[in-house]
Symmetry: C2
Subunit: 466 residues, 2 copies
């Protein structure tokens, strides 16, 4: 025992020296970051902005009137902030309507199932009745084969793995059944799909989300079912494997509409031609207020400008806040923005996205060259007092809206740019994600404000030291 | 810029090497910790135990029938777990009753104020009517002086500082007005005290908590007022500084009663005479279910035994779980336990307390000699995947119940023992603390389970490597 202890003590001693080294940030930085958090935590602005966005603008799917209101709201809020420029960037967005009917039940019984159409799904064109076949994720379809699937509704029931610590990773491991399940199942002759809601939680709210068809000629309807009713359905299938589910939905896709990304800038003092983009997305799903997804990211981004202004901080680089449109079902805002950046020949140092909700900040996912990553990891000790000092190398970029700036092979604007994804605590996020429970009341004021402080701090550090 | 970048790169490179060193824990540890978390996250036991404690046993202030039920419940749960020993350790606890009447209003108006007696307070003996004097904390009394205070109710209105990141530190900075305010104010001739509730939140639930009298001959009644009504009262005082508050409470202290700490042990394999104590407290305030405070700590502690047993892990040292009684208003359980440990001449390696609620784990506060502290900090990297890797040197020990084992000057059992305080995220804790909102529904299942995993992991590491 003693020898293990000794070895560890030596290792720790060296580690300690290194921490001291990393700790020797200029104290100016500590003071500035303390100020940023003080301001974020003592003003109700971010929380009040979120309230107005959730309660006055409300549920705002791309192409809806509420999405138009969100654009105007964002534009007016940014205009009121004494920044250098505010403008709307036109884009064309898809327009999908849930319609007026969403209903599912076990045929010949009064057992109703809580379902909601997946965004992008076609309707059922009347009542669709079919037997079920249960698939444990999209990778289970081959096993079932055309014989097991043809003429049936595929019930994708792969759950979140509770052992996966990070909620986003648990989501990533089964979301393909939601996004691509319908087209895959259609290849085997399925007539529809039901998908277990993407959440850890046992509850009775179905969680919607985007799906896409790969074959225009072979579209089948797709709906999410609440986790409680997914479990109920499994039980019922055990009792009666030949039961049929009846499904009626009249959702449909309408013609594209014009919409906007909303953009505001504080011009950089010494390197105004180099941009730092920070954003979230304005649109939400139609069934919730989009409080965590992504009202939080929107007010975090707006708050960044307020914190800089109130702090009298003049950035070196141009800080550009982008309120993206259409992240949820098309990413036209993110792609359009990247194309626009490319067309203008703009130089980007970094882009940061907040689209992980409004919970307590833990840190940031980083996509950057190793040398840059290592510099950012050096900020750990200065951020530790605020608890937002976990840095993770990210394989997937920084977020759906900003990834095209770096990862779109047709654009490749700057393969060395820094992408940061804000990482709040992820344990509760999927309780609300894409569900009617994603409302203002489920965002915690201090946690939201801490997120704004964390984003303010990292943007300050990178603007200053790069 | 470039030179700063280079220096940082070198520093980070060294830091990187050190992390690799720290990372080179035997993989056996990683496997064991992964198992602990897997088990914590895939079994509903901890959450179900919490539900039963909150809903079936319920609010359980020391000396109450519910506290007796809690003792029996804890004993039976531990008995069912195939541990080596379960026993009840008798202690005598204070017995305070809130009585049947708690009422406050602005005299000659119908403006009711939401108040609740502080635990230990005397009643008002009829209707107490008096003018108010506002004090910004206990340190403000000198300034107000006897002239400003005599014959009045002191309204302690020092709020939580929202800039303080850690909720427990914000609490620590003003809780003395709740605990000692009445006796201090009585020295200046006050006839009662109202204390702003100890919470960040603007809400209308008063938060109770313990208070004590230093002078038996000069006791005045003390009540907590909700933060919303504290603010209302300030507004009303601006309009009419001479307003009077009327207060009626019939709370009282009854004779002491017998109660118990409940104790269970898994005997150590190679060093059975050396103890690791892990605990939380069984009692709660009478106005809430004590779900975060401290049902979470109780089920965390019980879960530790389950995780060890289910994992087939035989500890080196004796693992002793203590469900302490009377943390809230007397700490007779903690003091009694330390005396008992001393009387038996037992050797303690470590004690860990979970009394910070059931939110996502962040890490541990550590009170230990530097050499030991540094070894524990070396576990950072192995715990980082679980997000519970923040270690803070603690000035105040590990928790009220376990501190007497080390910090009670009359006992001084082992000044070198390790005290660990479990540190969950603290942003939401004081929303519920000592209020009627501290109920099972406000504890998040996965967050609770993550806490059990974190405690399981650190106890495993220390048991194995010390």
């Amino acid at each position: 025992m003693q020898s293990i202890r000794l070895k560890k003590t030596v290792a720790i001693f060296i580690l300690g020296i290194c921490f001291l080294k990393a700790n020797s940030q200029p104290s100016k930085d500590s003071i500035q970051i303390r100020r940023i958090f003080d301001m974020a935590l003592t003003d109700d602005k971010a929380y009040e902005n979120l309230r107005v966005l959730c309660k006055n603008v409300g549920n705002r799917i791309s192409g809806s009137k509420a999405a138009d209101s969100a654009v105007n709201w964002g534009y007016n809020v940014l205009k009121s902030m004494w920044v250098d420029t505010v403008y709307k960037m036109p884009i064309t967005v898809p327009c999908w309507s849930r319609g007026t009917v969403e209903r599912a039940y076990i045929y010949h019984t009064d057992l109703k199932l809580n379902i909601t159409a997946l965004g992008g799904s076609i309707g059922t064109n009347g009542l669709l009745k079919a037997h079920l076949v249960v698939a444990n994720g999209i990778e289970d379809l081959e096993r079932l084969g055309e014989k097991g699937i043809k003429g049936k509704i595929v019930f994708f029931n792969k759950p979140f793995d509770p052992r996966t610590i990070n909620g986003f990773e648990a989501y990533g491991a089964c979301v393909n059944q939601r996004y691509a399940g319908a087209s895959k199942a259609a290849e085997f002759g399925a007539v529809g799909v039901l998908v277990r809601s993407m959440t850890h939680k046992n509850d009775n709210s179905p969680h919607t989300g985007s799906m896409g068809y790969t074959n225009e000629a072979n579209k089948i309807p797709a709906a999410a079912i609440s986790t409680e009713h997914a479990d109920l359905l499994i039980e019922q299938l055990k009792l009666k494997p030949t039961l049929r589910v009846a499904l009626r939905m009249n959702c449909k896709t309408l013609p594209d509409k014009e919409s906007f990304n909303v953009i505001a800038e504080i011009k950089g003092e010494t390197e105004p031609e180099t941009i730092i983009t920070v954003g979230g997305h304005l649109d939400s799903w139609d069934i919730g207020e989009g409080a965590h997804d992504d009202g939080a990211g929107i007010v975090h981004s707006i708050e960044l400008l307020r914190l800089m202004r109130a702090n009298g901080y003049r950035p070196k680089h141009t800080i550009r806040v982008v309120l993206f449109m259409n992240e949820e079902n098309g990413n036209r805002g993110g792609k359009g923005y990247a194309q626009w950046v490319k067309d203008r020949g703009e130089k980007h140092l970094m882009a940061l996205e907040s689209d992980g909700g409004g919970h307590t900040p833990r840190g940031f996912g980083i996509s950057a060259p190793d040398s840059v990553y290592n510099i950012i990891v050096g900020y750990r000790s200065i951020l530790e007092p605020y608890g937002c000092h976990v840095f993770k190398k990210s394989e997937w970029g920084g977020g759906v809206d900003i990834n095209p700036l770096k990862l779109d092979s047709e654009l490749t604007i700057n393969p060395n740019m820094i992408l940061l994804g804000f990482m709040p605590d992820s344990q509760r996020y999927f309780d609300f994600h894409h569900a009617k429970t994603d409302v203002f009341e489920n965002v915690h004021k201090r946690e939201l404000e801490m997120g704004a402080g964390a984003i303010g701090a990292i943007v300050y550090l990178i603007d200053k030291h790069f």
